[in-house]
Point group: C2
Chain length 90, copies 2
Amino acid sequence: MIEFNVEFFGYSAAILTTLAFLPQLIKTIKTKTADDVSLITLIMFLAGVGFWIIYGIKISSLPILTANLITFFLNTLILVSKIYFSNKKL
Amino acid sequence: MIEFNVEFFGYSAAILTTLAFLPQLIKTIKTKTADDVSLITLIMFLAGVGFWIIYGIKISSLPILTANLITFFLNTLILVSKIYFSNKKL
């Protein structure tokens, strides 16, 4: 049996948990609503990802920095879309 | 000025990105709907978190393991609630 490299799991994890937010962004833009998506979750998550970015810089980890910059970018777009479509309904 | 410890950022990041999913779970249970939450996002995210758990075990990192076990648990409950409330509407 092939023994997978440890890095394989780390990179698969980073790619999946980063790109996972792309379908949410596409869905929000397509359906023009994200009312069911928790605002508190988005804000807490963005704050946390912001700390991961600082942590990545401090420990000079390019994978942590890159993955979290993309996650931050995607989730900011989800947050902005949510607020934009929510205001449009008023 | 106090120079914050690197670990402070790592632990703050881990706590925030883990507990961020609690408000989403509470919101889903309260409103009895999570139609706007992307199913593909949840599945990709759970798969990614699963890889982080394996990675955490392989590199013997208790913080990575603990944070991702909680994240996996919370997101599984969000996924189950989403499917449950979605089926109830049919």
